[in-house]
């Protein structure tokens, strides 16, 4: 199951975060802000210390967490955490990127690199997560 989604701007600030499950850790907004910028830093360090050209942290898998990060070529990072065993999150992350391109960037009142407060984006994310959660449950019960 999906746990949490956050979006980090190209300058490293947290611009969106959303709980996707009741089992996600309950952190304050400030704690998420710190986590977001810390992840941004780790991501750049990972890209810098890699022996070959690297795009930074893409996946982290631990015993009780799976984290996947998609960075657009414009430098915005979409990070999704999920329970271990959840299949690849690439499609969901790309879906969220499309929603961002549609409902955030095309909203004329949205200013670049500022926190995302767009209801249409929020609703789109909710629909996307709901649809994918349903599909996951169905795939699990079929198996």
């Amino acid at each position: 199951m999906f746990l949490h989604l956050f979006v980090i701007s190209r300058s490293g600030g947290l611009i969106y975060n959303k709980n996707l499950s009741s089992s996600a850790p309950r952190l304050t907004v400030n704690e998420w802000l710190v986590l977001g910028s810390t992840f941004h830093g780790l991501h750049s360090i990972a890209a810098q210390v890699a022996p070959l050209a690297s795009s930074g942290i893409e996946k982290l898998e631990c015993d009780n967490l799976k984290l996947q990060c998609f960075q657009s070529r414009t430098g915005v990072k979409f990070v999704l955490t999920a329970e271990p065993g959840t299949p690849d999150l690439d499609n969901v992350l790309h879906g969220i990127y499309e929603l961002y391109a549609d409902y955030v960037l095309k909203n004329p009142f949205y200013e670049m690199d500022m926190p995302i407060r767009c209801d249409l984006f929020q609703q789109g994310v909710e629909r996307l997560i709901e649809r994918n959660s349903r599909e996951l449950k169905k795939a699990r019960s079929d198996a």
Binding site: Q48, S72, T74, G75, Y97, E98, A101, L105, M112
Partner: protein, 193 residues
């Protein structure tokens, strides 16, 4: 051989992206853009200022439009500036304006090229009156290109060198690469390491 096959791949990607995009009435688009340019001329009363303003507006559009392009065109990473130019012309212009654009006139260093826009959808009904002969009517396109490329780290300068509205046979936009932007750590950080 390989370059001609990659060209056609870009053209195919452009056609696919174009079919996926939602379409709008071309006349509404033309008339809206025309009304906007005319309003700018009334507000600024100076064609140079209008040219500048159109470029700035395009720049803001490009900065936001590039993510739409990356999210929906499905093109992969570009290895070099030449691929960027091909992708911009064959996929970008096709996807958003539905027109075919050719990349020509590369300089020897591979840092500057021209885009030949045969059919400029912004200017379908436009005849430039003599008192506005300094107006670069479609200058917004230069801004869009500059904004979009800057977001993917190519800082370019962009200008119309031929304009169909001024009697040239084709519209030609010159794009020159100034530098690559690397915002991750900054140069001084790398040197210290």
């Amino acid at each position: 051989m390989s370059s001609s096959s990659s060209r056609s791949a870009a053209t195919r990607a452009g056609d696919q992206a174009w079919t996926k995009m939602s379409k709008m009435n071309a006349e509404l688009f033309n008339l809206t853009y025309g009304a906007m340019v005319m309003q700018l001329i009334r507000d600024y009363e100076d064609v140079q200022a209008v040219n500048q303003q159109l470029e700035t507006m395009g720049y803001s559009i490009g900065q936001k439009l590039v993510d739409e392009f990356l999210a929906k065109s499905g093109v992969g990473n570009c290895a070099n500036f030449r691929e960027v130019a091909e992708t911009l012309a064959k996929v970008g212009f096709k996807m958003f304006l539905g027109v075919v654009v050719e990349v020509t006139a590369w300089n020897a260093e591979g840092t500057a090229f021209s885009l030949q826009v045969y059919d400029n959808p912004l200017a379908d009904f436009v005849e430039l009156p003599p008192q506005y002969s300094g107006l670069v009517y479609s200058n917004i396109l230069c801004g869009v290109i500059r904004g979009a490329l800057e977001m993917i780290k190519y800082q370019v300068e962009c200008r119309f060198v031929k304009d169909g509205l001024k009697g040239d046979e084709v519209n030609e936009i010159r794009v020159e690469l100034r530098q690559m932007v690397d915002e991750s750590f900054g140069e001084e950080y790398n040197e210290g390491a």
